[in-house]
């Protein structure tokens, strides 16, 4: 099987699967179990400054949403950074790193925005022998009310300033963890880069209320009748994270900035997608919290098999491979014409494609007395909704019309050459775009 050894901003680990800074990495006991299960690295639960330990709520910390069969799709939390004494965490990190030298151990940090605080914590974590630090500018709840976490991450100037301090006071690779609770992810990423960051990691959790108790009329998780927004993560946030990773990957001014991809990674495929969009490795939390540390075994075998099938010798061969294909709408080929095709042998005649198309789209699917569903090419705009609502994999597909054939909907012959909106006759700005 392919060698999954991955070097990410100078840190080598036996595979690209790291556990994100979160409850699973709060203790030596957990981290040892994680390494035994096969995780390539761990970002330790965020450390705060020395002093009275952090206090957490004593009611529920998590809320969730579920798919069919109660599959956990999204998790929300209101837990703060580690609530254990700094000394205890540092001693444990030192022991673990000593026993597991081949695994990546990263210290996640969050202290008030002043140089002395950052210098002080950096001096302490250096003693642990950890491989790098991650600056937690992402947590959107609790700590942000105290001017830390996402309160820093939302202000690029702060991001840059703190990054500069960290680079000044330590030789370790510095990774900046970004909050998605911002309009343009490239701004804090740029600030991190300008501050000298060795990498960015994203996304941290998203502001969220998962549900409302309709008897108490309170958001969940509910603490004595009240609720506060939490940070949302898990499979549900993956598309948001993928886009933000891609935004950074394809930004010319951010070229070469390593990215650690985070956000709903549950299977090898999720990880491969993040990596194809430019992530040098991935960090995982919700999947481990849902299924346990053993979940990494499927990620390892799956990514290895995929790399073998593709002939990739190392994970570096995969990283960024999809980035050149990330484009803007205006550059998409308007001469690319497809039509939906329904495989009648695979069709189970549920009619979901028909309902979706007839009620909410373009009336491009016909239904016969005997429940045969067929695409009406003269109406099909190739929107893909029927594909997405069909319960049978591969039953409905999109077929490209070959050059020279007539699109029955528009009556136009399909042209072979690429043409996009910037040159389209309907575009009032077409000339200006030339």
């Amino acid at each position: 099987m392919a060698d999954l050894t991955t070097t990410f901003c100078g840190i080598t680990s036996p595979n690209p699967f790291w556990l994100a800074s979160a409850p699973p990495t709060d203790k030596e006991y957990n981290v040892r179990r994680a390494f035994e299960a096969g995780w390539g690295g761990v970002v330790w639960k965020t450390l705060g400054e020395e002093g009275p330990p952090i206090v957490n709520v004593n009611g529920p910390r998590y809320g969730a949403i579920w798919g069919a069969d109660r599959r956990l799709l999204g998790l929300n939390n209101i837990e703060l950074i580690t609530d254990r004494p700094l000394e205890v965490n540092l001693a444990e990190m030192t022991r673990v790193k000593k026993d597991w030298p081949d695994r990546a151990l990263i210290a996640s940090l969050m202290v008030p925005v002043n140089e002395d605080s950052w210098k002080a914590i950096l001096d302490r974590v250096l003693e642990t022998g950890c491989d790098g630090v991650e600056l937690n500018f992402g947590c959107p709840h609790g700590m942000s009310e105290r001017g830390m976490g996402s309160a820093v991450g939302q202000v690029p100037e702060y991001v840059q300033q703190v990054t500069e301090w960290c680079k000044k006071h330590s030789d370790l690779p510095v990774m900046v963890k970004l909050t998605p609770n911002i309009a343009d992810i490239r701004k804090p990423a740029q600030a991190a880069k300008d501050g000298g960051a060795d990498a960015v990691s994203l996304i941290n959790t998203i502001n969220s209320i998962t549900s409302v108790d309709l008897d108490l009329f309170a958001p969940e998780p509910t603490i004595d009748g009240k609720g506060a927004h939490g940070g949302y993560c898990g499979p549900a946030v993956k598309p948001i994270a993928l886009n933000m990773v891609a935004e950074i990957s394809r930004s010319p001014s951010l070229q070469g900035l390593p990215i650690s991809g985070i956000g709903g990674v549950t299977t090898w495929r999720d990880a491969a997608e993040f990596m194809a969009l430019g992530a040098g490795n991935v960090q995982v939390c919700t999947a481990a919290m849902t299924y346990g540390f053993k979940i990494v075994q499927e990620m390892i075998s799956g990514l290895g098999q995929y790399m073998d099938e593709k002939g990739f010798a190392s994970t570096a061969d995969l990283v960024g491979r999809a980035v050149p294909n990330c484009s803007d709408w205006q550059h998409l080929n308007l001469n690319y014409v497809t039509k939906a095709r329904i495989d009648q042998d695979a069709c189970i005649k549920c009619g979901r494609c028909y309902a979706a198309c007839e009620d909410t789209s373009h009336q491009a699917i016909s239904m016969s007395q005997d429940r045969t569903f067929e695409v009406i090419d003269a109406e099909c705009v190739a929107c893909n909704l029927c594909v997405n609502v069909c319960p049978v994999e591969g039953c409905i597909t999109m077929e490209e019309l070959s050059t020279g054939t007539v699109d029955e909907r528009t009556g136009k012959v399909v042209e072979g050459e690429y043409a996009n909106w910037t040159t389209h006759p309907n575009n009032p700005g077409a000339c200006a775009a030339e």
């Binding site: 069969d69 299977t267 090898w268 495929r269 299924y291 346990g292 053993k294 979940i295 075994q297 499927e298 075998s301 799956g302 290895g304 098999q305 995929y306 695979a346 049978v392 994999e393 591969g394």
Partner: protein, 445 residues
């Protein structure tokens, strides 16, 4: 003139060829890709999963199902075969309803377990169809091991030994390898010569030479094997058959069910196999069910299983009992054979009802007679030709630990040895574990 289920006596071709082939088609047709994804989606990926504990070979079931769910059935197959090199056959013949699937938490939650056996078949079939053998041999050790019996235990042992770099000579008394996978087991559980293909696939590891037609005690001596090889593994199964102890047992038409099943498995023309109009099968295990169901599928008009104890005590699982009933087999409990009637040829079976009491099983004195052109005996097999020098306990070779007999250099496993249920999957586990122990011993552990 054609025969029918009504044709008196014992006759071949009671059904049309197309009906016979439909009857003997795959009992559980393989899952297609969509079905496999839907089935895999139901697995909860339990921690320290009860299904793993219930599998004699300890396959990491949640992991392989997740590997199917994420589109890598080949990786799933590797997970299965790491633990159980005959995972393909076990997927077909394991009584999953009393093993992994009985333990599945969804059995508890909904009375409907994850289809573990079917998913296992999906994964292993995918890999085998691709012609992939995902194991390679370690550096040759120069050690030679004799494995007697090419059934599940012997094959599993031979493969693991070969993987470890040892050279294996594999002997079997029959003309083909595979043991009960080849000669036992209902035909509808192993269609398209799967047993033969699996042996061929398994041998791709290299370093194993199969010698057929070599029986211990007839062609091979244990002493000679012991001196010629660095280690010996005995996995020759149970070649003997228990006697009925009923009057008239020697009449024509009274057969050993295992031979009936073997003939059925080896024939290339089901129409040529004679079967009685009235068949009575004596016994309560899987062999009884397999023989009864197949008699019915061959076109027997009336098939009855006679079991001396109650339904609850029947070794065959409820699934197997229901399968038999669904095929039209009548199950008679608490009855034992007294005599087989008929002039030279079986015509009827006289039986007596029984009760279980403090003195064990006793007859009530009430008897009844069933018409019986064929009586198939499925009351257990015995160790035949016990090799000298080996300790026997409970009719089987006594072993301790991973198949160690009392004699240094000789290991035993599978049905011929003590311990475990007489199941393919248990034999595979025993062969594998013995191989690991042999390896440790030979390499100075």
């Amino acid at each position: 003139m054609t025969n029918s289920p009504m044709t008196p006596g014992v006759a071949p071709a009671r059904l049309a060829p197309e009906d016979l082939s439909a009857n003997f088609a795959d009992l559980h047709p393989p899952l297609d890709d969509h079905e496999a994804l839907v089935a895999a989606d139901r697995c909860y990926f339990c921690h320290d999963a009860p299904c793993i504990a219930a599998c004699p070979t300890g396959i990491d079931i949640p992991l392989f199902i997740r590997q199917i769910a994420t589109g890598t059935p080949e990786a799933a197959a590797k997970t299965i075969l790491d633990q159980n090199i005959l995972g393909g056959m076990c997927a077909r013949v394991c009584p999953t309803e009393t093993l992994c699937e009985e333990a599945c938490v969804r059995e508890l939650a909904e009375g409907k377990p994850v289809s573990i056996g079917q998913l296992q078949r999906y994964a292993t079939d995918t890999l085998m169809a691709a012609g992939v053998h995902p194991f390679t041999r370690a550096t040759p050790t120069g050690k030679r091991v004799a494995v007697v019996g090419a059934g599940p235990a012997g094959l599993s042992c031979a493969h693991r030994l070969a993987m470890k770099g040892h050279d294996v000579e594999l002997f079997d008394a029959r003309p083909k390898g595979g043991g009960l996978n080849e000669y036992g087991i209902a035909a509808y559980k192993s269609v398209n010569d799967f047993a033969g293909s699996e042996v061929e696939w398994l041998m791709q590891i290299g370093g194993v030479t199969l010698h057929t037609g070599k029986a211990l005690g007839r062609d091979l001596g244990l002493e000679a094997l012991k001196s010629d090889y660095d280690a010996v593994f005995l996995g020759m199964g149970l070649a003997g058959v228990n006697a009925l102890g009923a009057e008239g047992e020697d009449k024509e038409g009274v057969l050993d069910a295992v031979n009936f099943i073997a003939d059925l498995r080896q024939t290339d023309d089901l129409s040529a196999l004679p079967v009685g109009r009235n068949v009575v099968v004596i016994g309560g295990g899987m062999t009884a069910i397999d023989a009864a169901v197949q008699s019915k599928l061959l076109g027997a008009q009336n098939v009855t299983i006679l079991y001396r104890r109650s339904r609850a005590e029947m070794p065959a699982s409820r699934f197997e009992q229901d399968l038999a009933a669904a095929k039209g087999v009548r199950l008679v409990f608490n009855a034992r054979p007294v005599r087989i009637t008929g002039n030279g040829r079986a015509q009827g079976l006289e039986a007596e009802y029984t009760v279980s009491g403090p003195d064990g099983l006793t007859g009530t004195g009430e008897t009844f007679t069933l018409p019986a052109d064929q009586v198939l005996k499925a009351i257990g097999q015995t160790l035949d030709g016990v090799p000298e020098g080996l300790k026997i306990e409970g009719g089987k070779i006594a072993v301790s630990g991973a198949g160690r007999t009392g004699v240094a250099g000789i290991w035993a496993g599978g049905d011929c040895a003590q311990g475990g249920e007489d199941l393919t999957v248990a034999a595979v586990a025993e062969g594998r574990d013995a191989a690991e122990d042999i390896h440790q011993t030979l390499m100075g552990g």
